[in-house]
Structures are given as C-alpha cells and as structure tokens.
Symmetry: C2
Subunit: 297 residues, 2 copies
Amino acid sequence: MTAYNTRFHAYIEEIQTALAGCLPAQDSLQGEVARAMAYSLQGGGKRIRPVLTLEFCRACGGDTRAAMPFACAVEMVHSYSLIHDDLPCMDNDDFRRGRPSCHVAFGEATALLAGDALLNLAIETILTRADQNLLSPSSILRAAAVLFGCSGTEGMIGGQVIDLANEGKPVSEQVLAQTHRLKTGALIKAACVMGAVAAEADEVCVRAAEAYAENLGLAFQIVDDILDVTGDAAVLGKKTGSDAANNKTTYVTLYGLEASREMAAALTERAVESVRGLPMADSFLPDLARSLAQRVK
Amino acid sequence: MTAYNTRFHAYIEEIQTALAGCLPAQDSLQGEVARAMAYSLQGGGKRIRPVLTLEFCRACGGDTRAAMPFACAVEMVHSYSLIHDDLPCMDNDDFRRGRPSCHVAFGEATALLAGDALLNLAIETILTRADQNLLSPSSILRAAAVLFGCSGTEGMIGGQVIDLANEGKPVSEQVLAQTHRLKTGALIKAACVMGAVAAEADEVCVRAAEAYAENLGLAFQIVDDILDVTGDAAVLGKKTGSDAANNKTTYVTLYGLEASREMAAALTERAVESVRGLPMADSFLPDLARSLAQRVK
C-alpha cells in the first residue's frame, strides 16, 4: 500500500467512527428518521470532503482532532443535499451508490425530514463537538461561517437553483462554470478552508486551500461530465448517458471529450501547484488531486 | 393602545426590518429561491418566537440588539418547517395564512430548496450577524446550540417524525404530549432561552425562560386543537375540522372542549408565575401568555 493509500484509509476509518458517534439513537419514538439518516450518511461515498478537511488541517500544521467536527459536518451537508436532490420533485433518482435512494427505502416524507435533520445535525455537530480546548470559540464560529456560507444560496443551494432554472436548456460556458462553482465547488472549498481554519493557519494557507479547492472542484466536475459519457454504469453505481438524455450542457458537449480531459488535467496540476508552500506539505494533496482526475467512478 | 400592544408592535417592526436585511438578493441567477424565501418568511405569521427572544433578553436585563440575530434565526427555522410541512409528501396543504403555500406559488422543487435555504440562512444569520462587541463568541455558540438542539431530531424534527408515524392512529396522552413538546414546544423554548443567553443571564433566568416556554408551548398547542374545532376558517386562514377528518388524537378528543380550555388556562397561569422573578419583569410576558390563550387565530 502506498503512503497515500495508508493515510487515506486511516482518515476514512476515523471519519466513519466519528460520523457514527454523531448520529441520533435509533431506538426512540423518532427512530425512523435516525435510520434514514444513517442509511444515507453511512451508505458509502468517497468521503473526499472530510478527508480534505482533515488533511488541510494536518498540512497547515494543526491537530486533526480539532478538524474532525468540521469534517463530519461537511459530509452531513453533502449527504443531506444528495437525499433532497434525489427526491421525485428534484432529480427523481431511484438509485444512489448502487442502492435504492433514501426516499425509495424510507418514503418521501421521512427522506425529506432525514435531509433536514442531517443539515441540522451538521450545525449541532460543530456547535457541540468542536473542542474549545483545541480551538478558540471565534475560530469555531469562523469555520462554521465558512461551511454555511458555502452551503446556502450563495453556494451549493444557489447552484442547485441555477441548475434547476436551466433544466433542458442550453447554457453558456459562463453559466455552466458558475453553476459548478456553486453546486459542487463551494462545498469542496468549505472542506479545504475549514481544515486550514481548524489549524488556526495564516491567511496565506487559507488562500492556498481556496486555490486548491477551486481547481480541484472544477476538475472533479469535468471528470463527472466525462464519466457520464464514458463511464461504466455498474462501476459508477448510477446510470450513464443521463446528461445527453436530458439535453444538458456539460464540458463534454461544449468542448468534446479530448479537450475536457486536457482541461481536467491542467486544473489538477494547478491544484497541485497551489499547496506546495503549506507548512507540512507532502505528496498527499497532489496524489489526491491526481487520483480524482483519473477516477473511474 | 396598551403598553403591551405598543411594545409588541415595536418589536414586530424591528423584526420585519431585520428579517428583510437578512434575505438574499432577488436579482441574481438564483433569484427564484430568494423570492420563495421572502414569500414565506415575510408572508405574515404572528412572530411569537422572535418577540419572545427579544423580550426575554430585555426582561433578563440585556440589550435587545444582541438578541436580534437569534430572533431572526428562530423565525427562519419556523418558516422553513412550515414550507416543508406543507409539501405534498407531508401535509399537502395548498394554503398557508390565507395564501397559496410556497410550493403552490413556486413549484415543489423551489419550495424544497427555499426551506433548505431558510434553515441554512438561520445558522448563517447567527454566525455572521451576532455582534461580538455585544456578546462573547462562547455565548453566541451557546445560543446557537440551544436553537439547533431544539430544531433537530431531539426537538422539532423529532416531533414531526413521531406525528408522521402516528398518522391516522389513536395515540396515548403521553405520546401526544411528547409530540407537542418536540414539534412546537422545543422551538418556543429555544426562542425564550436564547433571549436569556443573549442577555448573558444567570441559570435562574435560563430556568425561568424554560418553565415559561414549556407551559406556554403546551397551552398554545391545546388552543390550536380547540380552534380546529371552534375556530372560523376565514379568520384562521386555514381549514378547520382537519383533525377530526384525519382521525387525529388531540386534547379536545381526549378531554373535550371544556376541560381543554381549563388546561390551557391553568398552563398559562403557570407560565405567568414562572417569570415573576426576572430582573426586569413587567406585565409584558404575562400579557403575551394570556393573549395567546385567548386568541381566535
């Protein structure tokens, strides 16, 4: 196992344990929503965002224990957004990560509330689990402001709204880039920046985290667009060809496969460049960026 | 105008101005969700919760400006919960406060996202607008923890889940009380306690806020049950008789109208008792409790 894989898997194990410890009890009167939350939050996923939070904290010289509540919170926000995105009134997706989506497994009403509850739990996790012995209250407030600034109307939700407004319509490259910057980029940025804030790092580090996240986020989305054309549905755990079926403008429809691959590669190298100067920089963040560019799911 | 009415209306004006200042711009690419948020957040409502937050801050000797972000946040949480409650997969209510509900006016997808965005805005409002010159970062964290502890699975959402699980079934008095304690009581408690925390009041004050809220919250719900039987749909702005039509267990079905009225009156007087010792106590909180017990909508 490479050093990258070893550290990645160690982070994943710590994150799974921490997430499990945050979920509400399933044996209460309201146990059904707790089961739906666990089903979605623990039902796989790459855990890229929480890994980024922990790693940026480490690379900026911090104690990753200080970053764990933020890592859990960003994954909860991501998980809630997927539950709500899959609902019949949104994308109406019956499958997610190769299993029935939350509303198929638990019904629409419970899935709606499970999504709401995961967003609420993200906030609660930061407010009640951020360790005031490791981090000042004002750093906790700052990290939370980064996350929820990136998940609201000026971030992730804003991107979903723009996406919805342009459904089935051709869009310009500017609108496409803005949609991605908000819909998926903002939360990746929050993940990276919260790691730097959890390390109480200086502004140079925070800007490096932003630059890495912006380049990685756009590369990630372009690879998503490529995989929707070239990917294997069985490996991806979801249908392919859905962008074409929905007449969706993507990087592939705008530039073609070859140019899209080149753009993703160039953005990945820019992400790699941007973190070279971090106090505890090593090969992990470059390896992570390159592995995302080469992923098949 | 009585002193009570004068202060109440002054609070309402301040709250409307503050809420308007928190809403996102409507002239952006994502303007549609901003319009849906404004439609629901500014579409009437009694504003009981934010008034309680401001008044508890004042009655505990605090500066109400310190409490305003918390007052706005609790109203945003209330507003998001109504949007999601009205959705077809939940209560499927086409009307709210005498107007089309959010999903009827804006479509289901936008209403879903507007609800998500209002919950997100509640936390953003606290994180970015709580004034660190008036309040310490740790008091801000504490007030936020009170709100989101009361709005999640151990509070409001939990109550909605229990309610959903028992739809159309007769329930015991214990389950009914627990449902109300969580579904509506928890957020009223958060409103009162955040006011005390914004005043940096002592634990005696915090306990008085809790006791007032618990008694007021249950009385409020019993009056709701009574109005569903005796109320005027035109005055209420919503259908009456829906509890009976849905075979719902209520205080009225368990105890009858007369005993329910007596319970509401007794709880109201207990609420009044509990705030007698607050540093700046006057007749406002007693008047508020009594006016809610006597309301016709």
